[in-house]
């Protein structure tokens, strides 16, 4: 059976249109995003690994080298098994630092533009034979099916279509850091296509060429040499070397790196792929041996590389060869598209940009976009040129393995990147150069010589034969040995630059700590960021990049916090890395957004930064580090859940901690506070905390703060935080602070209620006296009123009325005093200037209402105009309590002396009695609540504790001196109002 060339060309065209359609509907959002983010799609997109080499070449490889063909997939399986150790750390790095290619990754770690250039050039040279291989596979498959040599224009047209597809769906917009969902969907579709085609051909071989598994078994029994041919090369051939090569190729080939890391849409997918992708490869290889044996059974007279097509040409349905051809076409096209995109990105950032950086006046996005498109076209056409060079002289496998050995040279650099922080740039570059040199000598030159392109006269093939090694073993062993030895040796004798050390730290898989936590950005706002960047990347691009970074971090345009600006700087560098490559981005950021080297940063200033990074690296922590992280979280939770408001500040008064209690007390969320200076906090917290931070006192009790129109009371405490980064030479003013706020409002309210209760209790005790005092005048009033009924003399009537009025006034005075004393007032709001003498007199009047109060004599020594600033009602309560106690302690007829005078800026008030006195033991407990020496029912034990509290509130002191049997002297000292210093004096006894 043969096919018309036009039919196959039409089928190819139709297939490509379907591919365009799949990519287009995905990019347009017509396909649900969850479908594209599905791990199965990711796994299928990784199927780009299986190129026409796998599709066609595996059968040929198996025919010539038996089970060696499986090594190409077993190595991949080993690499994917190592996902948690190898692939996931790379994925984390590429995502976080927006590294879009292997060259980016290595240039980032070794902080070397030269590394990027070298990797890109080598990758380019190593990949061209592979691209050529794909073109050749397609043209050869056409000639197998049509039995005629296809015209060159066909290959050229095929290349043109792929260029168009790559540009439309891989380079449609900038920046390169964007994910291309359409491309992922199309590549996954291609993988599904080649898997289906190969399995169908395999099933056809099994059930049509043979009559089923039983027939195949019979055939194998009759041909034991077929099985022996599979196992013999395993014992003799470069089995381990090839497994190693495919292990490297699994993630270092440009197309694999691109689909696995750059186009990865979901982090979790890579874990799923760790087993699902090897399963995909296993399914793909199930068909290889049945096809090989079917071809042998049919005695096909063609290259075994094309048995996949050959078996379908014998007694098969007419559609089957076309399906087999489309499968091969899909394998080749997927490889070419993805490889070209990956290489174009590398060439742009590591070759074109460093060689000719565009004028900042130009639209850089546009420049990069068109540059990349041009590179895509150049690379595909270079592959086409290479296809001409080596057209007929190499097998598919040889061409593929040249690329595998090339990418294996990056393995030492990758291991250093992940697991050896001491590896140096010089070590990496020299090792890589040695590896490249060996590869050129052992593989590339022989290839070109065999193609007739050059003549070296080195008799290269004979060298590895003389050493008893296969060519791949020879090339792989010596290139990697020299590479590795130089990498390790030179790294041991050279030193890293500070930048390289920082990058090595960022790459370590066990910490993921981004940068050394010191320094602040010289720019103090986002506008200055834009202005700085505009000089290099242009105004529009700078504005877009700053805006993008602000959006990524969820920051506002007016951000001014130094810690946040440093994060913004890092984010911009990462974003630019995705656009211009890591090294170029690093240079631009260092030049345009300089760090302020004079500024010292405290450790506390970096707390948020550190914590964010630890949150990100949580699952990576193991062993002792994980335990320490748990401890850190525990301590942090203690601070956050502390029932006291906690606020920690840096030496320059920037808030680094604002716990939950503080949020509740202030009503201000931590997000609006952390990173800002204290004085920028909303009122009244800014002034309150900033003032307390600067105050000498480490504790301020009962500070009154008005919140939403209501008074609140707080106890304030503070302590300094020594900062190890600042050393021991810093004074207190250069250390951080932690401030604690204790809400005393409830306690204050409770105490006010208690004071009121105490006053009511006092009134209760006064009740009998009150009744008596009021009873006498009322009796007098009643008698006078009765007499008035019969009195006719106007003079006597007037006198009686006067007497009644006097008695009424007496009653009003008693009731007024009681009312004043008993009313409940709000705390702290009744401070006023009042005359102390009148307050003392009123207190005496009240005490005289009690039985004991009547039986003693009072002597008052106080200037009439001596004034005091305070709560008059509370001071009155103090006096009533002190006088009542003095009366209770005095015998009938005893004397109580009250002296008040001014001394310096204080007023001293003394209450002395000649009573029983207080024992020394009782004196120690006098101010304790509920302590009393009186009989049950006579005292509550709250009086003196209330006196003590009121004196404390007035910032005064109280002292009791007592000698049992002689009397007691209570001395109260209260601060006096300054205006009273000049008041005239007048003593009244």
């Amino acid at each position: 059976m043969t096919y018309e060339l036009e039919i196959l060309f039409g089928a190819s065209l139709l297939y490509l249109l379907i591919l365009f359609f799949v990519a287009y509907v995905t990019d347009s959002g017509l396909v649900p995003e969850s479908w594209i983010n599905n791990p199965y799609v990711y796994v299928l997109s990784l199927g780009v690994y299986a190129t026409s080499w796998s599709y066609y070449g595996s059968v040929g490889f198996a025919g010539r080298e038996g089970y060696l063909f499986l090594t190409v997939y077993l190595g991949v399986t080993l690499a994917y098994l190592m996902t948690p150790l190898l692939l996931r750390p790379i994925l984390r790095l590429t995502r976080f630092y927006q590294l879009t290619s292997l060259a980016d990754l290595l240039a980032f770690r070794y902080r070397s533009q030269l590394a990027g250039v070298l990797v890109t050039l080598f990758m380019l040279i190593g990949s061209l034979p592979y691209i050529a291989l794909q073109i050749r596979a397609i043209t050869t498959s056409l000639s197998v099916l049509t039995r005629e040599v296809p015209p060159q224009q066909l290959a050229l047209g095929f290349c043109g279509m792929l260029i168009l597809f790559a540009i439309m769906f891989g380079a449609r917009s900038n920046p390169a850091r964007e994910k291309h969902r359409g491309l992922v969907a199309a590549i996954a579709f291609e993988s599904l296509m080649k898997l289906t085609a190969l399995l169908v051909v395999g099933l056809f071989s099994l059930f049509h060429v043979f009559s089923g598994p039983a027939d195949l078994s019979r055939w194998l029994s009759n041909h034991p040499e077929a099985i022996e041919a599979l196992y013999a090369p395993m014992r003799e051939g470069p089995w381990t070397t090839l497994i190693f090569l495919s292990f490297c190729a699994a993630f270092l080939l440009p197309r694999q790196f691109h689909m696995m890391f750059t186009e990865n849409l979901s982090l979790r997918s890579i874990n799923f792929a760790s087993w699902a992708f090897p399963l995909f490869l296993l399914l793909l290889n199930l068909a290889i041996l049945p096809i090989l044996w079917a071809g042998n059974h049919l005695r096909l007279e063609m290259d075994t590389d094309y048995y996949v097509l050959g078996v379908t040409l014998v007694n098969s349905p007419k559609w089957l060869p076309a399906l087999a051809y489309i499968g091969g076409f899909s394998a080749a096209s997927a490889m070419m598209i993805v490889t070209t995109l990956a290489l174009s990105s590398m060439c742009m950032t590591h070759l074109l940009l460093p060689a000719s950086y565009p004028d900042p006046q130009l639209d850089i996005y546009r420049w990069l976009l068109w540059g990349r498109r041009l590179l895509i076209a150049i690379i595909v056409m270079a592959g086409f040129g290479f296809y001409h060079l080596i057209e007929q002289n190499q097998g598919l496998v040889q061409l593929g393995l040249i690329s595998f050995v090339a990418v294996a040279q990056f393995l030492p650099g990758i291991i250093g990147l992940l697991y050896w922080p001491q590896a140096t740039r010089q070590g990496f570059l020299l090792g890589l150069l040695a590896g490249i040199g060996t590869w050129v000598y052992a593989l590339l030159l022989p290839l070109l010589e065999r193609s007739g392109f050059i003549y070296t006269g080195l008799s290269l093939p004979s060298l590895h034969h003389s050493l008893g090694m296969a060519q791949w073993e020879f090339a792989t062993f010596w290139s990697l040995t020299l590479n590795g030895l130089l990498f390790v040796g030179v790294s041991l004798i050279t030193r890293q630059s500070p930048e390289e050390r920082e990058a090595a730290r960022a790459c370590r898989s066990d910490t993921s700590m981004a940068t050394e936590l010191k320094g602040v950005v010289a720019a103090t706002n986002t506008q200055q960021f834009t202005e700085g960047l505009a000089e290099t990347i242009g105004q529009d691009t700078a504005e877009q990049e700053v805006k993008q970074a602000l959006t990524d971090l969820g920051m506002a345009d007016d951000e001014i916090r130094p810690g946040e600006l440093r994060r913004l700087r890092e984010q911009i560098e990462r974003n630019l890395s995705g656009l211009l490559g890591p090294q170029m981005a690093h240079i631009i950021i260092n030049r345009q957004l300089m760090m302020d080297s004079e500024s010292k940063t405290a450790l506390a200033d970096s707390i948020r930064h550190i914590e964010e990074q630890l949150e990100r690296s949580r699952t990576q922590l193991r062993g002792l580090t994980a335990d320490m992280d748990k401890l850190r979280r525990f301590h942090r939770q203690i601070l956050l859940d502390l029932p006291l408001g906690a606020c920690a500040v840096t030496p320059d008064q920037r808030v680094v901690l604002w716990n939950l209690a503080m949020e509740l007390l202030s009503g201000v969320p931590s997000g609006r506070v952390v990173g800002y200076r204290l004085n920028a906090l909303p009122a009244p917290w800014g002034d309150l905390l900033a003032g307390f931070a600067l105050a000498q006192d480490r504790h301020i009790p009962r500070m009154e703060v008005t919140l939403e129109g209501r008074p609140h009371w707080f106890n304030l405490h503070k302590a300094t935080i020594p900062d190890p980064h600042l050393g021991s030479g810093w004074t207190d003013s250069r250390t951080g602070l932690v401030m604690l706020l204790e809400d005393m409002t409830d306690l204050e309210t409770l105490e006010a209620e208690l004071a009121h209760s105490d006053r009511l209790a006092s009134i209760g005790r006064l009740a009998a006296g009150v009744a008596h005092e009021i009873g006498n005048p009322i009796t007098g009033i009643a008698s006078l009123a009765q007499n008035l009924r019969y009195e006719k003399e106007p003079e006597i009537i007037a006198e009686s009325i006067n007497s009644i009025l006097q008695q009424t006034k007496r009653i009003s005075n008693i009731i007024g005093s009681l009312m004043n004393f008993s009313r409940s007032g709000s705390i702290g709001s009744d401070y006023q200037t009042f005359k102390l003498k009148s307050t003392i007199d009123e207190a005496i009047r009240l005490v005289k209402l009690t039985r004991s109060g009547k039986q003693v004599e009072y002597r008052v020594s106080c200037r009439k105009k001596l004034q005091l600033v305070g709560d008059k009602q509370h001071i009155s309560q103090v006096l009533v309590n002190l006088l009542a106690n003095a009366c209770d302690a005095s015998d009938p007829g005893g004397k109580i002396e009250i002296i008040a005078f001014q001394e310096d800026d204080q007023i001293q008030l003394e209450v002395m009695d000649q009573g029983r006195g207080i024992t020394e033991r009782d004196q120690q407990e006098l101010f304790e609540p509920f302590f009393t020496t009186k009989k049950p029912g006579e005292g509550t034990g709250l009086g003196l504790s209330m006196v003590y509290k009121i004196i404390q509130e007035h910032q005064g002191q109280i002292k009791i001196e007592s000698v049992p049997g002689t009397g007691t002297r209570v001395v109260v000292r209260l601060p006096q109002h300054r205006d009273q210093q000049q008041h005239e004096t007048d003593t009244d006894h």
């Binding site: 499986l70 997939y73 984390r92 497994i243 979790r268 874990n271 087993w275 193991r622």
Partner: protein, 66 residues
């Protein structure tokens, strides 16, 4: 002795599986089973075994991934 964390166990399990795969495919044992073998699909069986263990590990530790 400190208790191994879940991520730690994942790493250990991965390493053990890798060593097992290396034992199957790149050790003298490989030459032993390849020598005079008449079951043609044996490499596929070993390959499938490794994949199945890998899948089991994935589902066992998937809550601790990333």
């Amino acid at each position: 002795m400190p208790k191994t964390t879940e991520p730690g166990r994942q790493f250990e399990s991965t390493l053990l599986l890798l060593l097992f795969a290396l034992f199957l495919f790149t050790s003298p044992f490989t030459h032993w089973w390849a020598n005079g073998q008449r079951i043609w699909f044996l490499p596929y069986l070993f390959w499938l075994l490794i994949i199945l263990i890998g899948a089991w590990l994935h589902f066992r530790f998937r809550n601790h991934d990333l």
